[in-house]
Symmetry: C2
Subunit: 453 residues, 2 copies
C-alpha cells in the first residue's frame, strides 16, 4: 500500500508567522490575528481539507539577537506582537467537529497543577481534540521577564520537564477512575469519592498532594506533540511524544532525522512507526505550474530579508548583522554551535550558502522548503519526500494567510485523494483515535499509560 500523507497547519497568534514581511501583501489576512473571525475562518478551511490539526506555535519573548535589540522584530512584526495561543482553540472548536488543536505552552511558565486543569478543560470543550506541544523553554528575553536572570541549563530543563510530565500523568491518568463520575440522581451521588485519588506527588521540583480538580476528559492526556531538536530533546520526544515536528531544509537531513527518531523510539521500547513525524513545508500552488510560479514571484516581492535574518539570528543565537550578505555559512559555522547553521550548510552538502541566500530561503516558510507548482507537481514532490525519507506528513506554513491554505485545500488535497494517498474523510472519535485508530487514551507501551488505574 502506498504510504498515506498527513497535513497539519502551522500557525502562531501573530502576524506573518514564518514569512516575515508578507503582511504587506494586499491579500494577506495575518494582521487580523487579533480577531476571532480570522481563526474561525481558518479552522473551517482546514477542516474542509481534512487537516489532522492546527499546531499553534508560541514564544513569550522577542527576537533580540539581530543588531542586538528587538527593533527589527518590532518594526517588521517578526513574531511580535504575539498573543496567547490557548484561547484560540475554544473559538475554533465552536465552528468545527474534527480538527485537532496542538497548543504550545512552555513548562517554564506555569505550575503543572493549574496547567493540568487548563488542558483537561480544553479537551472537554473540544470533545477530545486537544493536543499539547511540550516546550521546555522560550527565548531568554522571555525568561528574564518572569524574573529568571538566565534560563536554567538545557539538561536541567529536561529533568524538570520529565517530572512535570510525571505530575501531569498522575493527574490526568491516575487521579480519577473511569467510573468515578456516575451522576446518579436517585442516590444524589455525582462522584464516587472512593474512586478519586490524591496523587501524593513529592519530587525534586514539585510537590502536589491533592486530587486532579477536573473530571477525566475524553482523551485524559492530550495528544502529545514535541519538536525537540537537541539530543536530550530527541530522547524526551522518543519517550513522550505521539507526534513530532521537525523543520529542515532538505530530504537528506529529514531522512537522517526520521531514521534517528525511529531508532530512539525503538530504544524506548515503542513501535518506531507509532509516532507521526511532520516536516515543515510551504506549498504555493494554483491551476497550473506557471500560475504557481507567478504567485511565488509576486509573494517574494513582499518578503523581508531583514525579517528573515531577525528569525535566523534569534534561532541560532548568532547576530547575522555582523556579516556581509555574501559571507558564506561555512565561515559563520566556525563561530557558532547551533544546529541550525549546520543544517543550512549540510542541506545540500555540495553547496555552500551565502547569508543572502539564507535570508531568501528563510523569508518564505522559515527553515522549511517551499514547494511550487500545480496540484500534480506538488503531489509528485510530496510523495517523493515521503517515499525517500519515511516522513508521515507535512506541517504546512503559510506565505499569505489564508490564501496559502485555501489553495492547498482547493488544489492539492483533491489530487492526493485521487491518488489514494490522502484521507477521504475524518475518522470519528477523539483526536488520538482519529490519528492512530487505537482508542481515546494513551496505551502501552507509552509511559503515560502505566499511570492509569
Amino acid at each position: 500500500m502506498t504510504k498515506q500523507i498527513r497535513f497539519n497547519a502551522f500557525e502562531m497568534n501573530c502576524v506573518a508567522h514564518q514569512s516575515p514581511g508578507l503582511w504587506r501583501h494586499p491579500r494577506d489576512r495575518s494582521w487580523q490575528y487579533k480577531d476571532i473571525e480570522y481563526w474561525t475562518d481558518l479552522a473551517q478551511i482546514l477542516e474542509k481539507g481534512i487537516f489532522d490539526g492546527i499546531f499553534i506555535a508560541d514564544v513569550l519573548g522577542t527576537y533580540d539577537v539581530f543588531h542586538g535589540d528587538n527593533r527589527h522584530a518590532l518594526q517588521g512584526a517578526v513574531q511580535v506582537p504575539v498573543n496567547d495561543p490557548l484561547q484560540l482553540a475554544p473559538a475554533m472548536a465552536a465552528v468545527t467537529k474534527h480538527l485537532g488543536f496542538g497548543i504550545t505552552t512552555s513548562i517554564s511558565f506555569e505550575h503543572p497543577y493549574p496547567f493540568a486543569r487548563r488542558i483537561t478543560t480544553l479537551d472537554h470543550l473540544t470533545k477530545g481534540r486537544a493536543g499539547w506541544n511540550i516546550v521546555t523553554s522560550y527565548l531568554s528575553s522571555g525568561a528574564k521577564n518572569i524574573g529568571q536572570d538566565d534560563q536554567v541549563s538545557h539538561d536541567d530543563r529536561y529533568d524538570i520537564a520529565d517530572e512535570y510530565l510525571e505530575v501531569l500523568y498522575k493527574l490526568w491518568q491516575g487521579s480519577w477512575q473511569d467510573d468515578a463520575v456516575v451522576r446518579d440522581r436517585e442516590s444524589g451521588i455525582f462522584t464516587h469519592a472512593d474512586k478519586v485519588f490524591p496523587i501524593e506527588h513529592e519530587g525534586k521540583y514539585f510537590k502536589v498532594p491533592g486530587i486532579h480538580i477536573s473530571e477525566p476528559s475524553p482523551q485524559r492526556t492530550p495528544v502529545l506533540y514535541q519538536a525537540g531538536a537537541s539530543s536530550r530533546g530527541k530522547n524526551f520526544a522518543a519517550k513522550h511524544a505521539e507526534c513530532i515536528f521537525i523543520s529542515v531544509p532538505s530530504k537528506v537531513l529529514l531522512k537522517r532525522f526520521v531514521d534517528d527518531t525511529r531508532q530512539r523510539l525503538q530504544a524506548e521500547g515503542r513501535d518506531p512507526n507509532s509516532v507521526y513525524i511532520y516536516t515543515l513545508a510551504t506549498i504555493i500552488t494554483g491551476a497550473t505550474d506557471q500560475e504557481a510560479q507567478d504567485k511565488l514571484k509576486e509573494y517574494q516581492k513582499y518578503a523581508s530579508h531583514d525579517g528573515a535574518l531577525t528569525l535566523v539570528s534569534g534561532w541560532s543565537g548568532v547576530d547575522f548583522a555582523q556579516f556581509g550578505k555574501d559571507d558564506r555559512i561555512q565561515y559563520i559555522k566556525t563561530n557558532a554551535i547551533q544546529s541550525l547553521l549546520e543544517s543550512y550548510s549540510t542541506a545540500d552538502p555540495s553547496r555552500s550558502w551565502t547569508v543572502d541566500e539564507v535570508a531568501e530561503w528563510t523569508s518564505i516558510g522559515g527553515n522549511g522548503p517551499v514547494f511550487v507548482g500545480s496540484a500534480a507537481t506538488i503531489a509528485d514532490v510530496l510523495q517523493e519526500w515521503v517515499e525517500e525519507t519515511g516522513v508521515d506528513g507535512f506541517n504546512l506554513a503559510y506565505a499569505v494567510a489564508h490564501e496559502t491554505f485555501s489553495d492547498v485545500v482547493e488544489y492539492v488535497v483533491p489530487e492526493l485523494q485521487k491518488r489514494g494517498v490522502y484521507p477521504q474523510a475524518y475518522r470519528e472519535g477523539t483526536l488520538r483515535h482519529k490519528l492512530f485508530g487505537q482508542g481515546d487514551h494513551l496505551s502501552a507501551p507509552h509511559v503515560g499509560a502505566s499511570y492509569k488505574r
Copy 2:
C-alpha cells in the same frame, strides 16, 4: 430619575454552582458544563436579556472542611469537579456581540508577565469585552497543590496583589503608545519600535524588564472586578475595582456594605458612584406568584443540606458537621472569627439562625437572598432593594441551569424595562464604555490611568 437596575450572571465552570444538589433536577443542564454548547447557549440567553456580563467564579481547590475531608464535596459535586474559566470566554464571544466576560483568576497561580498577555488576548478576541475578577487566594487545599505548605498571610497577599497590579498597569497601560502600531505597507513598518517601551519593573516580588509582548487591546486594561470582603480587601477594591460583587443575605447588611464602599472610594479620591456594586441574588419567577412559588417548592425537593453545609464550612473554615442541626449560630459565632457567620446572625438582628436554617438558606443561591414571584412582584422587590441600599445591580445565581436565567429574561427584564429602570439595548463599544459611557480606557482618578503615556 429612578435609579437603573443592572444584571450580571454568576456562573462557574462546574455543576450546580450556588445551588448544591440541584443538578438532580430533571431540567437542570449544569452537569453539561463540560460542553461548549452549554456556554454558547447561556451567552445568547444573557445577551438577549441585556445582562452586563457573565461573571465566572473559580476555585482551584476542594471544599474539605465539612467532616474534615473532600468526600462530601465530591459526592455532591459541590464546586468539584471544576474546570478553567478562561477558555469559556472565546467560545461565548464567538456567538455574541455585547455580553461582557468577568473571568476569575488568582494572582497566586501565574506570574503577571504571561498573565498580562492572556488577558490582552482575551480583550482582543472579544473586541474589548474582557473583565477580570481579581482574586488574591484560593482555598488552602489549592495552595498546597502548588507546593505552598500554607497560604501566605492575608495582608502580605494584598501587598503582593498591589505590586502584581502595578506590573500589569505598566504592561497594559504604559508599554505601547496608542500610535505604536501603524501597519504601514509602503514603509514596511508594522510597529514604531521607539513607541514601545520596556517597563523595567524591579519590585519586592517581581522583576520584569521587558516590553508587553502583545499590542494594546481595545480596553488596554480589562474591566476590573473585585469581591473582597475583608477590610484590607475592601481598600484594595476601593483602589482598583470598577465593579464590586458582594454576597449578603439581607438589606441591612447590604446597605452597610454599600455605604462603607462609597466612603472608601471617596477616601481614595474617586467618585463614590463611579463603581458599580452588584449583590448576589437568585430570582425564581413565572407567569404568576403562584407559579413561581410552586417552582421554588419543586426546586427545594432537590436542594442538598449537606451540600450547603459543605459550602458554608469551606467559606467559614468551621466544620459544621460538629454541630447539631438545631444548634444556633450565636453559639457557633463565639467559636469563629469569620465574617460569614456574623453575617447570618446579623441578617435580621432580631433573629437567630439554627444550623438547619443556614443550610436551607444556602442551598439555593448560596449566601444571597432568593426572590420568588411574578415579574411584578420581583420588580417591586428589586426596586426596593436598590432604593433602600443604594446598590447598582444584582449578580444573579441560578437554581436550575439555564431555566433560572431564561425565566428572568422572559418575565423580569420586560417588566423592568416597562418601568423604565432597565436598559432597552446595549450601548455600542467596549465593555467599559457600555458600563460607564466614558470611553474604552481607565480614566483619572483611577490609579491605572496614570500609567498610560
